[in-house]
Symmetry: C2
Subunit: 306 residues, 2 copies
């Protein structure tokens, strides 16, 4: 592999940025990696781990001379980051982000960027339930999708270069317009997360079942919800506040379907339930075939140590 960007600035040093740094290091994809984070503690941890060549105190300093700037903060502060770095960006630099919502990020960031800078929003569909600078690892993006959301007048060479970086880290890359992106992730990620958070909250609230019972007996299905619901609270707050319309649309459809199934339970309509449950198996098979999961019987995963 060879260097794709001479100097990469990472703003925010959580799971995604630290994984980017590890992956770029492994592949020799960046001449120099400069990182910054708002929190002094995060900067200290990043310095200690050493996944950046330099850790600096401000975003303005980090972007100095960088030909790629990755905004990897929570979405809610991206407008401040953009306002801070705008005057310091090198002409011809590419600015991207890794936020889970694209329409709102474009609205927050684009107005602050000078002419001559290439803004290509991005969203790697990869993550774990862990967060922070210690949680990153080089393999995070392997076999995962990264969606890039260029504008109509985005420079094709700048897009090709950013795509090459993601591919060199093991990602598949798709290009999409921001509204479609926001709807797709509302279905595949945002609504499932809100639902998982809700179910875990209900279990926690229920007085007649203790938390320790919920925890002991979680292998029956609940466990998979807690895994999702353990994700970073700040990131997810910002996701829901900024992808409001698409998320609420999907949740509306979800509630409608859930009510129909509840009615089938109440009236004892077994055929309706059986038909519904049979249909969902096909989607599961599709996901296994597409390589987005394995076919291993994961419900028993602790016992099997696979």
């Amino acid at each position: 592999m060879s260097v794709i960007y001479d100097r990469v600035a990472l703003i925010g040093l959580g799971l995604i940025a630290s994984s980017l740094a590890h992956a770029m290091r492994r592949g020799g994809l960046a001449g120099e990696i400069v990182g910054t984070a708002r929190s002094a503690e995060t900067r200290a941890i990043a310095t200690e781990i050493g996944f950046c060549d330099r850790v600096v105190d401000t975003a303005a300093e980090a972007v100095n001379g960088a030909d790629l700037v990755v905004i990897a903060t929570p979405i809610g502060v991206m407008h401040q980051v953009a306002a801070e770095i705008g005057p310091h960006l090198a002409p011809g630099a590419t600015v991207t982000d890794v936020g889970s919502v694209k329409r709102a990020v474009i609205a927050a960031v684009e107005p602050h960027l000078p002419k001559g800078v290439h803004f290509i929003p991005g969203h790697p569909l990869a993550g774990t339930e862990h967060s922070g600078p210690r949680s990153g690892f080089a393999e995070l993006f392997e076999g995962r999708w990264c969606i890039l959301v260029p504008g109509e007048d985005t420079d094709p060479d700048a897009l090709a270069r950013l795509r090459a970086l993601w591919e060199a880290m093991g990602s598949n890359v798709d290009v999409m317009d921001p509204d479609h992106h926001d709807l797709v992730v509302a279905v595949t990620s945002h609504a499932p997360h809100l639902i998982a958070y809700t179910m875990v909250g209900v279990a926690d609230d229920l007085r007649r079942v203790t938390d320790s019972e919920v925890i002991k007996y979680s292998a029956g299905g609940f466990r998979d919800f807690t895994r999702i619901a353990a994700s970073d609270p700040t990131m997810w707050r910002d996701v829901f506040l900024t992808n409001k319309d698409a998320t609420l649309e999907i949740l509306g459809r979800f509630t409608e379907e859930l009510f129909a199934l509840q009615r089938a339970i109440r009236t004892g309509d077994g055929d309706h339930l059986h038909h519904y449950f049979t249909r969902t198996r096909a989607i599961r098979r599709g996901i296994v075939e597409a390589g987005q999961d394995t076919d291993a019987p994961d419900f028993g995963r602790v016992g099997r140590k696979t």
Copy 2:
């Protein structure tokens, strides 16, 4: 290990019964294992794999001389099974089941059993999204909980012996009354399954997002729902029809909470969302600490091959 039951009859030869057979074989816990299933194809597969010492055509024949009878069919047919085996049970035999609901199973089975037979309903909280006689494996119950639901006048020796069998297969055993059992599993298993089925159904229905997009981008959270929603449709239909009250109660609470979170999204109440999402992390930590899951970052599991 030594033989705990001289002859075990397995009625129904799906995931749970075949795993029981493998686990009992491994531990030398049963003198003889006799199996039966309604479907000739299932009996043929079980014979081919050879996890039973004998596979017979009828439940009446299977229970002949057995000191342990395990009803491992869908809940919806347990009353028929009980009616068929009742007259053929050996005096002093223990009858148990592995159904996910206990109040309804007791109502279906108990009236058909003769005096002198020990009926101790049971529920191993273990399973995978696979089903059928080929899906069983000896380790399924290791480190998992099995809930036994004896009656007030259950013979203590019969209970101790059944408990010893589950423990010898690697399970932890708890004793509970049927109503509390049905509520606990409504929270930890039944409601999560219905919710997962619903979300997968919504994704499948949405015209503006294709199935292939849902499948490609499932790593963002949706994937964990499809895993749950791929479980056996007949078993789950019967679960919801027979644990109606507890499931509907939990779903009612769930809908209430989901509406509150939707309102927070609509009104932009970030504090409410952040507080809610922070609370759920503690439950996740409890589950990891209780050994019901690992701390490995599983969202990236395909890329990491862990």
